[in-house]
């Protein structure tokens, strides 16, 4: 049992989702990744909570430490977060039968007229890896569609992204529409993107500004709906 959990942890650290992943040095293709190993562990009747608590979470903690020390960069962190996200899809239904629950629903979108998705995708992957149930609406999404998604999903968190100075103003439209619908107080609005600043977040009445994906994740850890 310890052996397979150790392998899962190692593959989380190396960011290998499945057997097709070549790994850091391009020579790991064909070897089982996190998905195959998690399936195997479940076949061996290892409890899902053990897979999460003994292999995946410590693996991601180690990735966080390596990132903090500068040894790992964004792609390493992202690859590992994707492993966690994919493993969670298998484990979540089983875990929900027990006591481990999602950290909450999170709607995320790049605002109207803005088709850039790099930052949004990084945040989405990290959020999923952190246990949020993320509903990614995509890019160029109008305010009414975003607010509609919040109403339908009852999400407690909303993430808005913009790369362009010409589109960042649409963030305020979303917040105004939340107010008009009387649901502003029910959702934590997080914003980010190259032209965004703390001042801008305050000006438009957002709850949280993430300078980058990791800053956003860290700040979300200190806030509750």
């Amino acid at each position: 049992m310890a052996d397979i959990l150790e392998k899962i942890k190692k593959n989380v650290i190396e960011g290998r989702v499945d057997y097709e992943d070549e790994g850091f040095d391009g020579d790991m293709e064909g070897q089982p990744g996190v998905l195959e190993l998690v399936e195997k562990a479940l076949e061996e009747n290892i409890p899902p909570s053990d897979i999460l608590n003994i292999a995946i979470s410590p693996g991601m903690n180690e990735v966080g430490r390596l990132y903090e020390s500068g040894e790992y960069l964004i792609p390493d962190m992202l690859a590992s977060a994707e492993c966690v996200s994919e493993a969670t899809k298998i484990l979540e239904p089983l875990l929900l039968e027990g006591e481990n629950k999602s950290r909450g629903k999170f709607v995320i979108a790049t605002v109207e007229d803005d088709l850039h998705d790099i930052g949004k995708n990084i945040v989405t992957t990290l959020l999923r890896g952190s246990g949020f149930d993320v509903h990614d609406l995509g890019t160029g999404i109008k305010a009414d569609k975003i607010v509609d998604a919040i109403e339908k999903s009852q999400a407690k968190y909303l993430g808005l992204s913009a790369l362009l100075t010409t589109t960042m103003g649409h963030m305020e439209e979303v917040i105004d529409l939340l107010k008009d619908k009387g649901i502003r107080d029910q959702v934590i609005v997080c914003i980010g993107g190259a032209p965004i600043s703390e001042d801008f977040a305050q000006k438009i009445g957002a709850d949280l500004y993430g300078e980058d994906a990791f800053d956003a994740i860290n700040k979300l850890g200190n806030i509750t709906p």
């Binding site: 964004i74 792609p75 690859a79 980058d212």
Partner: protein, 488 residues
């Protein structure tokens, strides 16, 4: 005015041919996603296929369009002495401004204040640029702060009133304003546009593509702009990124020539990298990006399509030593590459978020010196010229390069000159397949980032130190004020 130089090349004709063939395969096998129905129909009527939601462009259409594209473009100016003729057979380079900034950095008594840009800033900057002798054309640096509906005509009016140089209006904001813009300028040769038609990887997007179609129909010169970021919206590999950016620009070159054979388009490929150790933001002025942007010029000469270059987009937030060093190196290599119409971040800081009137004066001096160096040494050694250009630029501020700074500059130059990858058929094939898979996966940025782990460990992003140092801007500041007064 323009300066003729001997080109420094990074790619041989054989290597350009390999990149070209890779791009053609990408266009014909993976295709390009197009949001405009009008554009899709134009492609389909001329023999392209529509499969899996993407337009697949056969190689013969690409070859035909390259052949048809206007080989020489004349960019008019109110003062005919300022007219620019771009001819891909001749490496005559011209320097101009770029944009668009959101903020202006005011300088007064050693203090900087950043504030939102307003219409008066556009007027002031155009007036300054009109008087700076090394600015050959003006691209709008900031937009006027008028309602969006009025921006195009306000901008056109300001350009007409305050400059006699070629007016590059950059992006057309409202499609329905194009006829009024043309009526306002009367002579449409006075203006040109930049069209950011692509969103990487491999998308032609609306409404930009619809505006592009109308600009081409009106026979107005337009730069086709594509700016992938290696590691996030393109492969980290420079070979992969070149294949992709080339395919993206070529897709719009084809569209332009299907609309109007002999279209007046400029090739503006900007393959830069992403800050994968930070927040994924663009690295414009880092050595790997300077190298890749210069390599694009080789492709434009290979095709004999006019080249709209890019240079001097510094990360720095205020004018300082690092900013001068990286802008200078960027200009030297882009000029040496032979890019004929260099759309530079003149006067700009913080990438292109902020513009500084003082920085225009500094940048004009840097370009003046670079032009002198090319003139003095027609058979220049690129290493020596780049080192001298940085040394001279810093000496304008009484700053001499110490051993550490000299080494840093030398390291940057060597990185630009020496590729990290082998341009082989095998690498081309593998990158074409990788980009195709990424494009069809629907999660390309994740795949590009994950695949960059190996390249990062091989040093495919330059990792150097920053050069600290402040500048005394008093003299520059007073000169700027004199320029503004003299043109009142």
């Amino acid at each position: 005015m323009g300066i003729r130089i001997k080109r420094h090349t990074f790619l041989s004709n054989r290597e350009c041919q390999l990149i070209h063939e890779g791009s053609c395969r990408l266009l014909s096998e993976s295709g390009i996603k197009i949001e405009s129905q009008e554009a899709i129909q134009i492609f389909l009527k001329k023999g392209a296929r529509f499969e899996d939601g993407r337009v697949k462009i056969p190689p013969h259409l690409v070859e035909q369009s390259i052949e048809q594209t206007a080989k020489s473009i004349e960019l008019g100016a109110k003062n005919t002495d300022n007219k620019i003729v771009i001819n891909p057979d001749s490496p005559e380079i011209h320097f101009g401004t770029g944009g668009q900034a959101l903020y202006v950095l005011d300088y007064e008594k050693y203090m900087f204040t950043r504030r939102p840009a307003v219409t008066q800033d556009l007027i002031d900057i155009v007036r300054i640029c009109e008087q700076l002798e090394n600015i050959d054309f003006i691209t709008r640096p900031v937009e006027p702060d008028v309602p969006e509906e009025a921006m195009d005509l306000e901008k056109t009016g300001i350009f007409l009133e305050y400059t006699t140089k070629h007016m590059n209006l950059a992006n057309l904001i409202k499609l329905n304003k194009l006829p009024e813009i043309i009526a306002t300028v009367k002579d449409k040769s006075l203006i040109s546009f930049i069209s950011c038609v692509t969103v990487s990887p491999m998308n032609l997007v609306s409404p930009t593509i619809d505006k592009f179609i109308k600009i081409v129909e009106r026979d107005i010169p337009v730069a086709i702009s594509s700016c992938p970021q290696a590691g996030t919206t393109a492969p980290l590999s420079e070979i992969g990124e070149l294949i992709q950016v080339n395919a993206e620009v070529l897709s719009a070159v084809v569209l332009a020539n299907l609309i109007k054979p002999g279209a007046k388009v400029l090739y503006r490929g900007i393959p830069i990298s992403s800050d994968l150790s930070g927040d994924g933001s663009p690295r414009w002025c880092q050595p790997e990006s300077i190298r890749r942007i210069a390599m694009v010029s080789d492709m434009t000469y290979f095709y004999k399509i006019p080249c709209c270059g890019t240079a001097a987009v510094s990360d720095e937030k205020i004018p300082n030593v690092q900013n001068i060093a990286e802008k200078t190196i960027s200009w030297v290599f882009e000029a040496a590459s032979g890019a004929q119409f260099i759309n530079s971040a003149l006067g700009m800081l913080e990438r292109i978020l902020t513009v500084s009137p003082e920085q225009y004066i500094i940048d004009n001096k840097i370009i003046s010196n670079i032009k002198q160096l090319f003139k003095r040494s027609p058979d220049y050694n690129i290493r020596d010229l780049a080192q001298t250009a940085v040394k001279d630029a810093l000496e304008m501020f009484d700053i001499s390069m110490n051993t550490h700074v000299k080494q840093d500059i030398s390291d940057r130059i060597e990185y630009i000159l020496n590729g990290q990858e082998q341009l082989t058929q095998e690498n081309i094939d593998s990158q074409v397949e990788f980009i195709g898979n990424a494009v069809s996966s629907g999660k390309s940025s994740i795949l590009f980032m994950k695949a960059s782990r190996s390249g990062l460990r091989k040093g495919w992003l330059y990792n150097g130190s920053k050069i600290d140092g402040e500048l005394n801007l008093e003299e520059i500041h007073h000169y700027k004020n004199r320029l503004l007064k003299s043109s009142c």
